[in-house]
Amino acid sequence: MDTAFIAQLAAIVGPDGVVSNKTALSVYDCDGYTLEKSTPDLVVLPRSTGEVVAVVKLLHKEKIAFVPRGAGTGLSGGCLPVEAPVMIGTSRMNKILHIDLVNRYMVAQAGVVNLWVSNAVKSQGFQYAPDPSSQQACTIGGNVAENSGGPHTLKYGVTTNHVLGVELVLPDGEVVQLGGVVDDVLGYDLRGITIGAEGTFGIVTQATLRLTRQPQAYRTFLVVFETVPQATQTVSDVIAAGIIPAALEMMDNLMIQAVEAAFHVGFPTDAGAVLIIELDGLEAGLDPQTKKIMAICERNAAREVRLAQDEAERTALWKSRKRAIGAAGRLAPNYCTQDGVVPRTKVPDILAAIARISEKYQLRIGNVFHAGDGNIHPILLFDERNTEETERVLKAGREILQACVDLGGSLTGEHGIGVEKMGQMSLIFTPEDMLAMTQVRAVFNPENRCNPHKIFPTPHGCIDTRVPRRQASL
């Protein structure tokens, strides 16, 4: 990029807010999805909405495409620059701007870390409900883009249920406020479609977040099973009994081993599967539900039911669950986390399919996932230095997604399409469907200059091979 242009950007965000050194830029070449890499030509780090607007206006004038980036914990390559030379990072936009506990909302800049939101109001008995497992690092902007969920999504819903409003800078630099501090929406719910648009509508600079009361009490269980089918049957039975736990998570043997190696929380490494079940709400209501759940677990031959005895034990249990995917790094040099959804009654079928695919491609695949809402996360282990094995991982991943679709499910529960799954969109949508959706995008982003070549396969054809600036990491 020419120096005059860099100087113009530096005049807006300060010289230390523009990264242009080649070596420095190389660390921006991927997010949590490491199978494909591409380095931006420039990274710009604004601190405020005003700075974002000025930067975006300049890019608009110069007709330069750009890509927003939060913490880069995404798992579908959403912030990978594909024919977008400039990356706009929100890491310096990390201030909480306003807290209103009476009206139960907070206004936070897009770069605020998810967990900071709950931490800021914890002592007053409040929380921000969406709790992705990456919450210690991922940003509100990234959550809005991916409509992120988490273990407690089962009862409390996903990001869109807890974001009241967003401030969005459109690709021409115009600032729009979508939604607000109250729930009622007049006209079309533009806030709603912006959440989950994977950063293809513009840059979210602020969000108004709903704060909710922390539950009065919890019951958190670790339930140990000899086999995976026993565990999945328990999941179905709990749901069928009309109980909605706050969370219902499952881990298979491979993941139990990873977690135990990492955190030494006392998970039985010989177990076939464990469930983490959490009930929350008013103290008075919890014991009857606890009894029902205990009975269901017993009926399904649970080997052991451990109830967390205090807040410290509960925290330890969640910490190990939330960091389980990362702990998979101890099992192999690399892993690829898949994300698919099936109707929750089909969880046993999809797990059986994954086991078959694991066998077929001779790959180790671990499972740790949101069993209560049928959102699976198979974790495919490999070594990226082995090209042939990496190929098998890509193929196996695609086959797993195909299996989800065949079971009446979908391609992604929460990690988004990004670049990773563009090729599979046609499994679910017709070309007409996709055209309709790109027309919606065009209302916000008519020139497709904000995060281009994402979600929908472009006329360039299959992005894997044709996009010139992008290479697989191998």
């Binding site: 490491t34 780090l45 890491s91 990456s134 190696a261 790094g329």
Partner: protein, 419 residues
């Protein structure tokens, strides 16, 4: 570019690029630049190792800026040994990279002064002279430029420096339960003599017979953190030889940075056939003083200390050794003490060994943050387990003219045992 081999290549693959460490890294949160995050630094080191990058000013800049606080290790689910990676990269930089002159001079001085007892004594006498002359007040003078003020703020307040040389042997007070050795350290005797004495007192009150081998010197930590591997290893070998032959239950350390390094002696000498086993034996005995006291049935102190205190987690205790609950439990055992919670208590204060000397600008930003959090507790004392943090935080308190005092955990404990 040729591949370089400064560390076991496989170690890079522990990092799965998940980013969960980012918000725990002080330099990333301050600057927002991925190059100054743990994940970014690991990627940079890996490219350096693979020979994809030249070792240039840009690479060195981002690796220099790392505090070595190891908060990223606490955050990382994948078990990345970040400390080992950065230390290997640093020694590679020191071997291969020619720094600008001023930088070289600064680093040379640090290398020569700190691990050398004579050097420390000279440095300490200068500080003490400054202290006696009341130079610390200059830190608050608004007539001086900021840079000078921050130098004067390093001069301790009158009466806060003490030198003391420990005896070689102390009997237990009461029934003897353990025999322990104490590392007296290189900086401690000259600047924190009273804290060394307090360590011995507290141990004796807990039934420990204490031995302090005379021949000991610097453990090598400061040198190794700065990438001076040859000298650091030499110091470490000396230390191993001094303590290896002793028949003791534990080797007690009151400086977190030293303890964290000494626990890694085994790893450090794993390829050294002569030292491997000795190093492992010594490392296995190493315990921070609060870790040791927290692990034995404590004989609780009986004197009341009617003060309000707050606790700062030294990086090399909390992140480096996972010692967090023990010092807090010891404080709770002191009658009359009121304990306030410190926000972001395990956020680096900017001291980080000699970081405050090599990277003053970032050190200052982190100190400012720490000061604001300490002030907000309204405590009279801030307690911690590391001399580096004590110097840095005392400097910060002085510069702001705050009346809060910074003390070592054992200083306070000794007061509760003996008044």
């Amino acid at each position: 570019m040729p591949q370089t081999n400064f560390v076991d290549y496989e170690k890079f693959f522990d990092c799965v690029h998940c980013g969960l460490c980012l918000s725990f890294c002080p330099t990333y949160v301050e600057l927002g630049t991925e190059m100054d995050s743990p994940r970014g630094r690991i990627a940079t080191m890996r490219s350096l190792h693979e020979g994809k990058f030249p070792l240039d000013a840009e690479v060195v800049r981002h690796l220099d800026l790392c505090l070595g606080c190891r908060a990223c290790e606490t955050a990382c689910p994948s078990g990345v040994h970040y400390g080992e990676l950065i230390e290997s990269a640093r020694s590679f930089i020191e071997e291969q990279y020619r720094r600008p002159l001023l930088d070289r001079l600064k680093r040379w001085t640090i290398d020569k002064v700190f691990p050398n007892p004579l050097g420390v004594r000279v440095f300490a006498s200068m500080l003490k002279l400054g202290s006696a002359l009341g130079l610390s007040r200059l830190a608050r003078s608004d007539k001086l430029p900021q840079q000078l003020r921050s130098w004067f703020s390093m001069v301790p307040e009158r009466g806060s420096v003490s030198s003391a040389t420990l005896l070689e042997h102390y009997p237990a007070i009461g029934e003897k339960r353990y025999t322990v050795a104490v590392l007296s350290g290189c900086v401690m005797p000259a600047l924190f003599g009273a804290t060394n004495e307090a360590t011995v007192k507290v141990l004796r009150h807990n039934g420990c017979e204490v031995v302090v081998p005379k021949a000991q010197g610097c453990c090598g930590a400061l040198l190794l953190h700065n990438g001076n591997k040859p000298d650091g290893l030499a110091r470490a070998r000396q230390t191993i030889d001094v303590f290896n032959g002793l028949n003791v239950d534990a080797l007690i350390i009151n400086a977190a940075g030293c303890g964290a390094m000494m626990k890694e002696y085994g790893e450090l000498f794993k390829d050294d056939p002569v030292y491997r086993e000795k190093a492992q034996r010594v490392a296995a005995k190493v315990k921070d003083v609060t870790e040791f006291l927290g692990g034995i049935p404590l004989i609780p102190p009986s004197r009341e200390v009617k003060k309000s205190v707050t606790y700062h987690d030294a990086c090399h205790l909390a992140h480096g050794q996972n010692v967090r609950s023990q010092p807090r439990a010891l404080l709770r055992a002191i009658p009359g003490l009121q304990i306030m919670e410190l926000q972001e208590s395990d956020w680096c204060c900017g001291s980080a060994g000699t970081y405050n000397l090599t990277e003053p600008a970032m050190a200052r930003r982190l100190l400012d943050k720490k000061m604001a959090n300490i002030e907000a507790t309204e405590a009279e004392l801030v307690v911690m387990g590391n001399p580096g943090c004590l110097m840095q935080i005392r400097a910060g308190l002085q510069q702001r003219g705050l009346s809060i005092k910074a003390v070592h955990t054992v200083d306070l404990l000794a007061e509760a045992y003996e008044g």
